[in-house]
């Protein structure tokens, strides 16, 4: 799925790295606990989360993720956006809640674990 398709499906607003909206992603994860992202994520390129702090961006960067979606209209700080820009990570924000946002993407073909579906 293209990141731009995610944006449309989630009715989201892009906050940085718009130039990377054309990138393709194949799996995602929804999580508020960065410990779990670090321990369990494999190749998921997208993180949906309700947690807002700079460690969200750094964790995504460590995991080579390419897009972060903040749910429930949570707004990242300027500092966080600068970190994301530095790494080319697309940041977007949606009014939807975590469960709903994940459900929409999943039912449109963006799975949780790529390996299982190949």
């Amino acid at each position: 799925m293209k990141i731009s398709t995610m944006k449309d499906l989630l009715d989201a607003e892009v906050l940085c790295c718009e130039e990377n909206l054309g990138r393709h992603v194949y799996s995602a994860c929804g999580c508020d606990l960065m410990s779990d992202v670090l321990a369990y994520v494999k190749d998921q390129a997208v993180l949906l989360t309700g947690l807002v702090n700079p460690q969200v961006i750094r964790t995504a960067e460590m995991m080579d993720m390419v897009c972060i979606v903040f749910v429930r209209s949570k707004l990242p700080t300027e500092e966080m956006l600068n970190l994301a820009k530095d790494s080319g990570i697309v940041i977007m924000q949606t009014k939807k809640r975590l469960y709903e946002a994940c459900g929409i993407l999943y039912s449109n073909g963006l799975v949780g674990n790529k390996a299982k579906n190949e």
Binding site: S35, L38, R58, M62
Partner: protein, 141 residues
Amino acid sequence: MSEELVFHFDVDGEDFTSAGQASVQIKKILRRLGLSPEIIRRVSIAMYEGEINMVIHAGGGVADVRVFEDYIELVLKDKGPGISDINKAMQEGYSTATDTIRSLGFGAGMGLPNMKRYSDTMEINSVVGEGTEIKMRVNIR
């Protein structure tokens, strides 16, 4: 000539928002050195977990990264409270993190096991009341 490359970082324990900075920097450096994405990912995740631990459990510390021809060595040193039972601390799910730390997205008790998983060797030396030193190696070939 196989002089190793050495990188030193001071990890600030006062400011949680800056936790992880050193790991982001190391990741950039390793990319510039042209290492494989797999190696870069393993090193940076191991370092990030260790760096976050120093901030949330030990009030900060120092990190030294040495890049040798065959392996990368990470040494994380702090003067925190130390770890009294290392075997217990190594168990998945064991954590002494407070609710505040959990509300920041950490404290699942997964960091140390994750560091072990992503490194080829890991050694912990800790003295209660004095501090902790963790040495990890990731083989390049």
